[in-house]
């Protein structure tokens, strides 16, 4: 079928994105570019750890006690094949970092995803339906906010372990992810509730009601796309926070199971060696944690400013 020139397909979503203000703001912000590159670096090295890491720190067959407690390669007794040194069992720190970051990031991302789904869902419901349901959900939010995040996570974690003492490793992960998710969902619920209440009054929602669209569909198809903006910014910064909460829990020994050490576990393990002079076993995991959190936070900051139409 011949299409006249005026009916050419308009630029698709990707083309519009690259011509838009957000991308322009990104390419002109050194902070955004650097932090995005760092995040990308950490993410790639974490995701592809099994293929990228120089050694496999969990393969007992390759470990050699003769290589234990080696300092980083640039120090006098270091070896080039162990760039950042080894721990007391001969595991390469760099490889352990990559695997650890992998666990940390995966747990954090899963937790934030669960958090977003729960928070946005409850926020939408609360804002759209209003009345007693809204009051109830907001009181639940208030209660949750009165507990410190770590305490909530510890509580759920402890309950989970008590209920399933001999549980399989994956259950431990699930409990951990749930614990972190439950510390963070409230902010999404509140933000989304606020914007939902605003959007609900707008005339395009009323027009949909006059057409006869049922409420659930209005919520999902009309309101939801318009309230997700702030959620993206919050979620980005939330990833950093989730990484730190997970690290804290693992540091305390109630996070990931010991067979899958995350950055927090590594920091804890390395802590014991700090004062005997083998600083690298704890410092490098700590630095990696800080790097991830910092670059994700900076990226989130940039995103918030880029998406704010008034600052442009």
């Amino acid at each position: 079928m011949n299409r006249p020139a005026s009916l050419e397909a308009p630029p698709g979503a990707l083309a519009r994105f690259f011509a838009g203000d957000v991308w322009h703001s990104f390419t002109h912000s050194p902070v955004a570019i650097v932090s995005a590159l760092l995040v990308l670096l950490c993410a790639v090295s974490a995701l592809f750890a099994p293929w990228l890491s120089p050694h496999d720190p969990f393969d007992l067959a390759t470990l050699d006690l003769a290589n234990s407690r080696l300092p980083p390669a640039w120090m006098p007794e270091g070896k080039a094949s162990f760039m950042l040194g080894t721990d007391d069992q001969g595991r390469d720190i760099l490889s352990a970092l990559m695997y650890g970051a992998r666990i940390s990031l995966l747990v954090a991302l899963a937790a934030v995803l669960a958090s977003v789904v729960l928070g946005v869902g409850l926020g939408l419901l609360s804002g759209f339906v209003g009345g007693r349901l809204d009051a109830f959900i907001m009181r639940v939010c208030d209660v949750m906010l009165s507990f410190p995040a770590i305490l909530v996570a510890l509580l759920i974690d402890g309950v989970g372990r008590a209920m399933f003492p001999n549980a399989h490793e994956s259950l431990a992960f699930a409990v951990l992810i749930l614990a972190i998710a439950l510390t963070g969902w409230v902010k999404y619920a509140r933000t989304v509730r606020g914007t939902t209440m605003v959007e609900r009054q707008k005339e395009y929602v009323q027009a949909a009601r006059v057409i006869g669209v049922p409420s659930a569909r209005i919520m999902r198809r009309h309101v939801l796309p318009n309230v997700l903006g702030p959620v993206l910014v919050l979620a980005t910064i939330d990833v950093a926070q989730a990484v730190i909460i997970e690290a804290t829990l693992s540091f305390l020994g109630v996070g990931v199971p010991p067979t899958s050490p995350s950055l927090g576990t590594l920091i804890r393990v390395g802590n014991d060696f700090l004062f005997s002079g083998e600083w690298w076993i704890t410092v490098f995991p700590g630095a990696m944690l800080m790097l991830i959190a910092l670059s994700v936070n900076l990226l989130g900051d940039w995103l918030r400013d880029a998406l704010n139409p008034r600052l442009q």
Partner: protein, 332 residues
């Protein structure tokens, strides 16, 4: 032949009390606003009734009551003989069938279209919701037809609302409202947010469509000049009540109610005819504590003791309906 739309003693009360906890702690009474306080009128098929009044008079609430966005606190709205409130609460199938026959156009062209949807989806939504067309191609063709009927191009269907001006968005809203081929359109200040020359385009389109399709309009506006252009009958509202209801010619030539006269006097005189005008007094009172009796009496130049005690009812005088003691008593 019964009128298409019949409204009888329609009333709507809004509860604007403080939240329960605040009320208990601060010992505040419950607060109610009688946004619509006993309004009755009817609209014949193919005609346009305009409701005019200033802010807070309840005309927008009447509009929303008519399309079922609010349920009435008292009174009834009958569409083609059926009580709309009951039908909309009843079976889904019947409710949808009723909704297909009446639609609404809103005031704010920037908020009445979902900014994340393409125009094609916005205009096609009623078609999809009512299952009128399934085939994607058929839907696209119908959308193109609708856009052309409001003076826009078929290619506009691919674009997003922010790519259009206020007047064009309002036309998209009209196209959406016409998708189900309704008989009755409620228009809530459809041109108030538009520039004068754009307003002219939209009003011309609306009149053309009415003539071609035999549409019935309820037209809400605060602009009497626009009302004069589009309406067949005009109802004047003040603080939730109808104070005068008459055919257009009669209301503009011989306004009877003191408030109608005041409104007409207050319109700026573009033609600079230098006509004599009585200065306007006072402001619309707080709807939370309306005056007793006739709600206009504090500002009325001819109010007497009865006006502050007794609420006037609509009486017929020379082909117009007026709610005024002074008119009834022959004082004006």
């Amino acid at each position: 032949m019964t009128a298409l739309v019949q409204v009888q003693d329609l009333a709507k009360v809004f509860d604007v009390s403080a939240p329960w906890l605040n009320r208990v702690l601060e010992r505040q009474p419950r607060l109610f606003v009688h946004a619509v306080d006993g309004v009755s009128f009817s609209i014949e098929r193919g005609r346009t009734l305009a409701l005019v009044g200033e802010s807070g008079c309840g005309k927008s609430t009447v509009a929303r009551l008519l399309v079922g966005l609010h349920g009435p606190s008292a009174g009834s709205v009958r569409f083609d003989g059926q009580d709309t409130a009951e039908v909309l609460k009843g079976s889904q199938v019947q409710a949808l069938a009723l909704r297909r026959r009446m639609q609404m156009i809103f005031q704010d062209p920037y908020a009445s279209l979902n900014p994340r949807w393409r125009v094609r989806d916005i205009v096609a939504e009623p078609l999809r919701e009512h299952g009128l067309l399934q085939d994607v191609q058929a839907i696209d063709e119908r959308v193109a037809d609708l856009l052309r009927s409001v003076g826009m191009a078929a290619a506009d269907a691919q674009k997003f609302p922010h790519q259009f001006s206020g007047g064009q968005r309002q036309r998209i809203s009209i196209a959406r409202a016409l998708a189900t081929q309704p008989e009755f359109l409620v228009c809530d200040e459809p041109t108030s947010a538009l520039d004068v020359s754009v307003q002219a385009q939209v009003l011309n389109i609306m009149k053309d469509l009415q003539r071609e399709r035999g549409l019935t309009y309820l037209f809400i506006s605060h602009n009497l000049a626009v009302v004069r252009h589009v309406a067949d009958d005009v109802g004047v509202m003040y603080l939730g009540r109808l104070v005068e209801l008459a055919p257009k010619q009669r209301i503009f030539a011989q306004p009877r109610h003191p408030y109608t006269r005041m409104l007409l006097d207050a319109i700026p005189d573009i033609q600079m005819s230098g006509r004599a005008r009585t200065p306007v007094q006072g402001e619309v009172p707080n709807p939370l504590s309306p005056p007793t009796g006739c709600s206009f009496h504090p500002r009325c130049p001819v109010a007497n003791a009865r006006c502050s005690a007794e609420r006037p009812v609509l009486i017929v005088r020379d082909g117009a309906q007026v709610a005024c003691h002074a008119v009834e008593e022959g004082r004006i």
